[in-house]
Every structure is written in C-alpha cells, then in structure tokens.
C-alpha cells in the first residue's frame, strides 16, 4: 500500500523530533539520583514539588478550601456525583484527624468509583460513541482496578474469540477504517504526543526523520483491518511506502516514537502462485459472514508495538502520558499542557514531580487508583478555588489556587439528578447494596441528559444549545423539577420554615449554607409569588440547578 499525502509532509517537526530523541534516550532512572526517594508518599511528594515552585516564584497560595467544599470536590472526582446532604454534613461535623483519608477510602471503595472511572476513561478513549458492551467492559475493568498497561494490552490485542473481553477492541474497531485516525489517536491518547505539533515548526534537517516516525508508527497498524464478521484481523504482509518531501519514495520501517525499530523476520520465499493462493484464501475468509476470527499471524506488527511500547527502556511515553492525564483530570490542567504535546520543547511545569510520579506509576504496576488517591490527599489538591487577593491570580500552572473545572456530561447529569433529589430518600450507606442499586439506576438515568451535553475540551465554552435546553425543554421541567416526594421540589413543600427550606435546598444543590444576599434575593422572588409558592420554589430550584456553581467542580 502506498500512502501519499503531500499535506502531511509539513507535519514534520523539529520540536516533536527533538522531544522524541531526548525522551527516547532517557529512562526514568536517569533522574533517580535527583528525585525524592521512592518510599515517600505521593501526597508528600506532590506537596514538596508544588511548594518548591511556589517558593521559587514567590507565590503565596490560596488557603485550603472548607470541609464542605472539599467533600464536594472529592465526591465529584472519585464518585462522579455531588455528595448527599448526609454525607456532606457528616464530613463537615467529623473531628477525627484522619477524616479526609477515611472519606477518600470510603469513596474509592464505593460502587460509584468504578462508574466515575469508567466514564472518564470512556470519554478519554472514545469521546463520540455510546457502545453498551464497551462501557460494560470498561466498568468491569474499573471495578477490578485493572492496571493501565493491562487495559492497553487488552484494547490492542484481545482476540474476538474472547467473548468476555472482546468489547475491549472497540478502540481499534471504531478507527480501523481510517488508519491515520488510528495512528493519531493512539499516539495522542496513550503516548501523549500528536504529530500536529509539527506543523508550525518546519525544520528541513529533520523532515525525513519525522516522516520515518509517522509512517513507522502507522506501519504497526497498516496490516490491521476488519473482516465482514466485524472481527479484527491482521494481514501477514504489507509494507508502507511514502514519498519524502523531496519526492523520493521510501519504505517505512516498523518504528516506534523513540526511534526503536522492529525488524520483520524474512518471509519464506514463495512463488507468485503460492502468494496468490494465500491472498485468495485470506480474502475468502474476510468475506465470510460467519466463522471464528482469523489466526494472529506469526509476525504481528500490532503485538510487537505493544511489547515495544511497554518495555522498561521504551515506556516513558506511555507512563508519562497516563500520569499527566490523571493529574490533569484531578488538578484542572496537566503538568504538561496540552496533554498531547509531551515533547522536550514543551517542558513540564514541575519536571521532577512528573518524573517521580512516572517512576512510581511503573514501580506500582500502573495502578491508577494509587495515583488518584495520592493526588487527592495532597494539600495542592484541596486549595480553595477562589482568589480574593489584591494581586492578580497566579498562573494556573503553579497550582496556587484550586482550579475550577467544567464537569463532564456524565458528572453534570448526575450532579443534576442528585441535586434535584430529596436527599433523605437516598440510602445513607454508600457501601450498602441499596446504594449500589440506586446508584446504578441513576447512572442509567443520566444517559439522556448526558447526551444533550458537549464533552469539554481545553478552554471549553458552553454552547447556547445547552442553555436553551435547560431553559425550555420539557424533560427539565418534568424530571428535574418534579414535585414527587423523593424530589427536592417535593420535600420543600413539606417544610414550613423558610430558612429551613433554604438551608436544605442549598445543602442539596451546593453543599453549603446560603449567604445573606442569596437569602434576600430568593425570599424576594418567593414573596412576589406568595399565591403560587410551589411553582415559585420549582423556579428557584431551576435557578439553582442552572447556575454556574453546579456546572463546575470548584
């Protein structure tokens, strides 16, 4: 197969390449002597390095957030929802010195964690599909806290014959018809690099190098295809050729981002007739409507890619990328930004921290839960998200302030469902079977709302269609503002005292007490509608649900 794309030739990048060369040459251990010892806790290390930069930059960080705010943040990050009133008030009232660590363990052990983890990984890997089997596969993987390298192997190499796990192939199958997309997405999502960074940084001296890398990576997928039975298959032969910018045709090697090359063992010499017969048999099998998946070839480039990418001396792209992505999810921005630009011209805001966390990730078998636990126990994680100082707010990258983050479609949908519930109607113990059932129902229920919402990107801007939906859609009126007894609108009707009503509404929706100006504004609104208080309360709830405070993790 010949790949020719003159447009792509300009994708070559000095910058990206420089990154590849230097990263490729270094293993995590190169920094070992300079890094904090591995036996320190993640939270200690995070705070050490974040504080070091604050000290250097002479920045005084924001104070720690309140207990109520922290439990909201933790619950959104680890459980994908807002806390119930009971959970939040219990946390605020608790006096044990280790109450935060206990709350984190409780959330990590709750069934909610796997849903949240699944939803986040699903968005990262497949932002635009909604496949049931795939989501079930991911959920199970998250319930078992399967290591990230194992998930990568499963997504790349599972056989269609493996009924239990074949849904893992969705990542590849959804992209198998566009190998450029498959190449790019794999590079971006798993290795934190994007060939597009090249575009603005032409460098004639390394142009061919870059093409070698791009088409080298592409080569690992070039024999992959889907047969008529929707099974993922791999041809036994096929090489990529490309035209260099000088117009010279060149065969691609099986080359990883680090520059390492896999040599294909010499194929047995076959006559033309034999080759034709093999291809004919393959083609016949490809067209069959039923039957087992074809066998994996003796030389499988895709298998070799996975082996190579996870080898200790090659795995820096893979391990750094997942650390950076988990960090970004919990802290509001990556240690390297953008997340797909992890090259040496684009250094991390805290290089030693990234190196330490990467080493820890590899040493502890790609345990995502471990990293998440460590980050959320740090002081850097729990800073207030407000900035009141007379100085301008410090740059986001020093993590002096808790960064305000747009909720994902699933988080926001679940936040809306929980915020519109009568908190008392929910089971109290998140480790109980009752809770598991209720959570599962709400998870399924959240699908409809989640479908209305865009997946946030960097510098996300909320679209007007979202606002129109919440302003005028029947579903919002009928579901979120429903006055049934298990709903907030329903329970408020039964409370005679205005202040009690307000307090419950604010704790349910915002996990805090109302402030004086809010009490005044809402009271004024209600008083003007004394003849139809129930309707007025529905409208107040609408205002609270659609205010920015619920839309963001802060």
């Amino acid at each position: 197969m010949q790949v020719r794309n003159p447009h792509r030739s300009r994708l070559a990048s000095f910058v990206l390449l420089a990154g590849m060369i230097s990263l490729g040459g270094l293993s995590a251990d190169s920094f070992a002597g300079e890094l904090l010892p591995p036996e320190k806790t993640i939270e200690e290390v995070v705070d050490h390095y974040i504080q070091a930069r604050l000290t250097t930059d002479k920045v005084v960080p924001a104070p720690q957030s309140t207990d109520a705010n922290l439990i909201r943040r933790l619950t959104l990050d680890l459980a994908g929802r807002i806390p119930t009133v009971t959970e939040a008030q219990a946390y605020a009232a608790a006096t044990e010195p280790d109450k935060r660590a206990r709350a984190v363990e409780r959330l990590l052990a709750s069934p909610d964690f796997a849903y949240q983890q699944r939803n986040e990984l699903d968005t990262m890997l497949m932002s635009k599909t909604n496949d049931g089997a795939w989501r079930e596969y991911l959920l199970k993987a998250c319930q078992e806290n399967r290591p990230w390298d194992q998930l990568f192997r499963e997504m790349m190499l599972t056989s269609d014959a493996d009924e239990g796990k074949k849904a893992a192939l969705m990542f590849l199958k959804s992209r198998a018809r566009d190998l450029d997309e498959l190449t790019n997405d794999t590079c971006k999502i798993f290795f934190g690099v994007s060939i597009n960074c090249a575009k603005c940084h032409d460098h004639p001296l390394v142009l061919d190098w870059h093409q070698d890398h791009y088409f080298g990576f592409y080569s690992f997928f070039q024999r992959t295809y889907m047969n008529k039975r929707n099974q993922l298959s791999e041809r036994t032969e096929g090489l990529v050729k490309f035209k260099t910018t000088e117009g010279v045709e060149k065969p691609a090697k099986f080359m990883f981002l680090t520059g390492s090359v896999i040599e294909e063992p010499p194929a047995p010499t076959l006559t033309e007739d034999e080759k034709k017969a093999i291809e004919k048999a393959r083609k016949e099998d490809e067209d069959k409507k039923e039957g087992p998946p074809p066998p994996v070839p003796a030389f499988s480039p895709r298998t070799r890619l996975v082996e190579l990418a996870l080898k200790a001396e090659e795995s820096r792209f893979f391990s750094r990328s997942i650390v950076n992505r988990v960090w970004a999810r919990l802290m509001g921005r990556g240690l390297v930004m953008p997340l797909d630009q992890m090259h040496s011209e684009n250094p991390a805001s805290h290089p030693e921290l990234l190196d330490w966390l990467t080493r820890d990730m590899v040493a502890h078998g790609y345990d995502l839960k471990r990293l998440m636990r460590g980050i959320v126990l740090s002081q850097a994680y729990s800073r207030s998200s407000t900035w009141n100082g007379p100085e301008t707010q410090p740059h986001d990258q020093v993590f002096a302030v808790g960064l305000t983050r747009t909720l994902s479609p699933r988080q926001y949908s679940l936040a809306l469902l929980f915020a519109s519930r009568n908190s008392k109607s929910l089971p109290e113990d998140v480790l109980s079977p009752d809770w598991a059932n209720r959570r599962k129902d709400l998870e399924n229920h959240s699908q409809h709302l989640a479908n209305q919402l865009e997946v946030p990107s960097d510098n996300f801007q909320v679209g007007v269609s979202e606002a129109l939906f919440f302003a005028n859609n029947q579903h919002v009126q009928n579901d979120l503002l429903n006055e049934g007894g298990d709903r907030l609108a329903g329970v408020l009707k039964t409370i005679p005292d205005r202040n009690e009503q307000l307090k419950l509404a604010f704790w349910t929706v915002y996990t805090r007490d109302p402030e004086a100006e809010e009490v005044a504004a809402i009271s004024q609104y209600l008083d003007a509608r004394a003849d139809r208080l129930n309707v007025a309360w529905q409208q107040v709830i609408w205002s609270m649900l659609t205010s920015s405070e619920l839309r963001f993790n802060h």
Binding site: G463, A471, E518
Partner: protein
C-alpha cells in the same frame, strides 16, 4: 445599553453598540478584553474596521450530492459530454451559462464564477468534509466548518440572534458540520426536522414573567459564584444563558408566515424557497452565517431530468434572493455561495446519469466583496480537466474570507493552544474575483 432599530420586516435588531463590540472583541481576544475597555473605538482604525467586518453575512446554498457544472455554470453545448441543454448569453457579454438558469443569467453582474476547481476527492464523505472546512482532514485536529469559522470571525459574543444556522431537512447527505476545535460556542443551530429550532419556545407552565425573573435569579447566583473565579469556561456558561432570551425573541425569524404574502409568492412555494426566506430574515436581523442545504443532486441516473427540476428551482429561488437582498441594501454585505461536495463527470453513463467528479468543477460567489460579471478559470473543451487557473478548496476558502474582509492568513486565536492559520500558509485567494483588492 444596546440600541435597537426596527427593520422593514418588523424585527427588533440590536445595533452594534460599543459594549456589544467590546464583547465581540472579547470573544476573539479573551483575556485582553479587560485591557481594551478604556479604548475609544472611533479613534482606532483597526477597531473600526473590525466593526465594519462584523456586519457581513454569508448564505451558503449547499448543493448536496454534487451539482453538475455542465448543467449550471460551465456548459459544453455541442460536445460529446455536453448533454441536451444549450448555453445562453447572460447580461454580461462573453459569459454564457446553462439555459436552465435564465434568471441568474440576467443577474450575472453580481456573480463571480469559478470554473476550475480540482478538489481531488470524489467521495461524498471526503468531499463534504473538504468543502465544508476548506482543507483536507488531518488526523488529530478537528477543523471548524465554514459556518463556525465565520460565526467566530463575524459573530458577536453577546449576539441576540444565532450566529450560525444550518437548515438541512432532507436526509440525503445530511451532515451537521461543526465547530471543531473552536468549541461549542460556535456550533450551528442545526435544523434538521423543522425550520423552527428546538427548545426555542417557552413552556406554557412557565409564565413569561417567571421565565425572565427566574433567569435573573440564576444570573445573580452565577455572578456571585463567578466573582472570585477567574475562568473563561465559567464566563461562557453565564454568557450562553444570557443569549437565551434574545434567541427566543428571534423565534419569529424562523416563522415564514410572518413574511408578507407578496414576498412569499415571489420566492415560490417550495421548501427550499421557504428556507431561503428564513435565511434572508436571519441575515437581515444580523445572523452572520446561514446554510441552506438542497438535496439531492447525486444524479447517477437521469441526470438531465434531475437537473431540469433542481436547477430551475435554484435559478428562480436564488434570483429572488438576490433581488430581495438588493432591495434591502443587503447584497453588498451578504455573500451568496453555491457549492456542493464536488461536480459531475463529463461522461454520461448508460443510465443517462453523471457520476461523482472532483477534477474540474464549478462554484459561484455572489454579492459581498465579489467582482460581479467575472469568470475565473477554464476547463478543457469537453470538461475533463482544468485547462487554466486550477484551484482547490483552500484557494476557494481564501477567496471567501477575503471577500468578507477577513485576512485569510491570520490565525485562529482560540485560547490556550497553538495558533492555527485560517488557511494553510501560502494559499492565495482568487484576486480576479474580488472587488476589494
């Protein structure tokens, strides 16, 4: 305070006031908006130009499935590939077009024709992506389509009307397009079922007063939250809600029955005609970009009967649209584009059809910024190849941008990521078609 004016069709249209302009500047410049608040725009030529640019509009007539250049802008009468229709003179000497477009032939003074598009992709999906975004797709970067680009360039941050409306009611070839990396602020209001947008009408259970005042309450709560959080996404959330009531007020823009019967009669009774009336109403009220898709031009069989019907409709409706815009003084500020994903083959197949063809086809630009009565490029005698002036989608896009007064070499200034040029470096617009060079 925004000052409004009454338009001939009775719509309240907010003028571009100082605050509105600064809001628009904020959409482009983000964090710098605060620093600009002290400037007097009238003293700054750059900003005054910016203001002017923002009054421009585009109506894209998307000929879904691929219209034949032979039966429209580039007839080859008497040639083996020419088909049964003749060419006719237009009111611009030397320019001849298909006899299926007699009305447009009498309005050639407003139109520039490109006859030399070679876009290389004759697949519906690939061709659509290429012509919708103006560049080949590139893995890893999701480019905005023309509507989103122009909503971003021409729209106002606090616009009370939608800034990108896409009408695509037929199912054939339907494609939503979208804002790509520009983000959902610039997504189209996509009307695929009805000309009336979803969620634009207030529910009866909420009174008009309550609908407004509960939103005031929401705004108060949001503002309190945003006060101490310096974050663009938070700002965009409140902005989106602040646009809701304006958009709801624009509901009647989508209601064709608001248009005088005499005008509706001129356009005719077809759905395409009604959608073009809606497009004009939107443009008149300030919407920068409206796409009206007409399907289905994919005439693999019976090409000539298909074109007899579709071209006649295009000829009539587009001519009426030109006249209507002209009468309202809007044609100078509105660019009408006709294009699809590709053209059709010179060869006439055994089903009397023409197949997909991207190597030598035509598109047209009418109105704003266009040197009317001009033709750019040439195909060979039988229309197999471009003979002169070959251009692709990027050059066509550069021409559109320049016609609207937008520098095609500038970069998208979307926040936080690397700058991306509107067109690839080195792309040249077709200056021969531009009136403003």
């Amino acid at each position: 305070m925004t000052i409004s004016r009454q338009t001939p069709s009775g719509l309240i249209v907010p003028n571009v006031g100082r605050r509105a302009f600064l809001g628009a500047a904020a959409a482009g410049a983000g964090a710098f908006a605060a620093d600009m608040s002290g400037l007097d725009i009238l003293k700054h030529k750059l900003l005054a130009d910016e203001l002017k640019r923002q009054e421009k509009h585009v109506i894209l007539l998307w000929l879904a499935g691929g219209a034949s250049q032979f039966e429209t802008w580039d007839p080859k009468p008497g040639r083996p590939t020419g088909g049964p229709f003749r060419a006719i003179d237009t009111n611009v000497s030397g320019i001849r077009i298909s006899e299926l477009m007699p009305k447009l032939a009498q309005r050639m003074q407003y139109t520039g024709i490109v006859r030399s598009l070679n876009t290389r992709n004759a697949d519906h999906g690939g061709g659509t992506t290429l012509m919708e975004t103006g560049r080949p797709p590139e893995g890893g970067l999701d480019y905005p389509d023309l509507g989103s680009i122009l909503a971003h360039e021409l729209g106002r941050a606090d616009s009370q009307v939608p800034d990108y409306v896409s009408l695509y009611t037929s199912t054939e070839g339907r494609h939503k397009g979208g804002p790509g990396f520009l983000g959902s602020r610039y997504a189209p209001m996509f009307l695929d079922k009805d000309v009336m947008p979803e969620n634009i009408k207030r529910l009866d259970v909420v009174s008009e007063l309550d609908h407004r005042e509960r939103d005031d309450l929401r705004n108060l709560l949001s503002q309190r939250f945003a006060r101490t959080r310096h974050n663009n996404s938070v700002g965009s959330h409140n902005s989106a809600y602040q646009r809701v009531r304006g958009l709801m007020a624009s509901e009647k823009l989508f209601d064709v029955s608001q248009e005088p019967q005499a005008i509706r009669d001129k356009y005719g009774p077809t759905q395409f005609a009604e959608q073009c009336i809606v497009a004009r109403r939107l443009v008149e009220a300030g919407t920068p970009f409206v796409k009206v898709a007409r399907a289905w031009w994919d005439s693999h069989g019976q090409n000539f009967e298909t074109h007899l019907e579709l071209v006649a409709e295009l000829d009539h409706v587009m001519s009426t649209l030109i006249d209507d815009l002209k009468e309202r003084g809007l044609l100078e500020k509105t660019l009408i584009i006709t294009m699809g994903e590709f053209g059709r083959t010179p060869q006439i197949n055994p089903s009397l059809g023409r197949d997909h063809f991207a190597s030598a086809w035509s598109a047209s630009l009418t109105g704003c910024g266009i040197k009317g009565g001009s033709v750019y490029g040439k195909t060979d005698d039988d229309g197999h190849k471009v003979a002169e002036g070959e251009v692709g989608a990027p050059e066509f896009y550069a021409t559109i941008l320049q016609a609207l007064g937008i520098d095609h070499e500038k970069h998208f200034t979307y926040l936080g990521s690397r700058p991306i040029p509107l067109t690839e470096p080195g792309t040249k617009p077709i200056t021969q078609l531009l009136s403003n060079v």
